[in-house]
């Protein structure tokens, strides 16, 4: 049972971390995207 706690906890922790990273970068992109004209975005 201890094994299951560590294993599931490890997966939950990993996905929580990567989800937070993804949210943070998307949020920053949207926030800054409102201040920068599309003409200055090389990916547009």
């Amino acid at each position: 049972m201890e094994d299951a706690g560590f294993i599931i906890g490890g997966y939950v922790l990993t996905f929580a971390t990567v989800s937070f990273m993804a949210w943070r970068v998307l949020h920053a992109g949207r926030r800054l995207g409102k201040q920068v004209p599309d003409a200055d975005k090389y990916w547009r």
């Binding site: 990993t14 971390t17 993804a22 998307l26 992109g29 995207g33 409102k34 201040q35 920068v36 004209p37």
Partner: protein, 274 residues
């Protein structure tokens, strides 16, 4: 970031303007993002479900489907940082795009090393009975983590973008030399950590087929995640740099506007005294 777009008025919200408002996403990143979510779903299904338990490690082997891919992708990320740093430092154009790619890749690599260390500690608790040992592999990995924390701290020092790029490029090219040390630490010193199961020197892969497949899915999932994150983060950094430059330009223009009237005033005062 406190800088705002001077072309926007109070009555003109960004969403109303067709030329402003898009974030860092494109059709390509959306496809990579969806592929990442699917691959992560497969990783959970195989890692926690379909993959059998190991004869020796029993259920704790399931943690390795996250632990191993995250450190491999961290190695890749730091290698990209070193190559991008070299492209900036030795390149004739000194393009800041290389510097931003180096910084974005290092951020993601550092986060992946943190995940590796935490998951490794959990695996260690189940397999060795302790969360941490000052073992060669664990210690060198912790050193790698601290080194890249330092790299990221140096990137946040003041100065121009070129100064940032130059000093961080030097660190980025030197820090990558730690990766062989981490990888070969289990052979160089007597280590509690097991030797490489897949990337060993003999080329023999000593893993069950379904276990190897689960590990392979983990590598694919985290590779896709890295690609998605690094594209977005590089674009966000480009916007941050652009707004930094614009903020500096605005500050200089404001300063000049202050100086010009005061110098005119000084000139008129001088004429008055004559």
């Amino acid at each position: 970031m406190t800088t705002t777009d001077p072309t926007l008025t109070h009555t003109d919200s960004p969403g109303d303007r067709p030329d402003v408002g898009a974030g860092s996403g494109t059709r390509g990143t959306r496809i990579i993002g969806i592929a990442t979510i699917i691959a992560m779903g497969w990783l959970v299904a195989f890692g926690l479900g379909f993959s059998p338990e190991d004869r020796d490690q029993r259920e704790s082997v399931r943690l390795l489907y996250v632990h191993v891919p995250t450190i491999w992708i961290a190695y890749l990320a730091f290698t990209v940082t070193a190559i991008s740093s070299g492209m900036y430092f030795f390149g004739k154009k000194k393009s800041l795009g290389w510097d931003r790619l180096a910084g974005a890749s290092a951020e993601i690599g550092t986060a992946f090393v943190a995940v590796t260390l935490v998951i490794g500690a959990m695996w260690g608790r189940l397999t060795w009975g302790v969360f941490w040992q000052w073992d060669a592999r664990l210690t060198t990995t912790a050193l790698l983590f601290v080194t890249y924390i330092g790299y990221l701290a140096v990137r946040r020092l003041g100065g121009t973008h070129d100064q940032r790029a130059r000093r961080s490029a030097i660190i980025g090219m030197i820090a990558v030399l730690e990766i062989p040390l981490v990888h070969w630490s289990v052979r160089l010193w007597r280590s509690l950590h097991q030797e490489a199961t897949v990337l060993g020197t003999d080329g023999d892969v000593s893993m069950d087929g379904l276990m190897l497949f689960s590990l392979f899915i983990g590598v694919i999932a985290f590779s896709l995640l890295y690609l998605w994150l690094v594209i977005h983060r590089t674009r966000v950094m480009a916007m941050e740099d652009l707004l930094d430059d614009r903020g500096l330009d605005d500050a200089l223009a404001a300063r000049r506007a202050e100086v010009v009237p005061s110098s005119n005033q000084a000139a008129s005062n001088k004429e008055g005294t004559v």
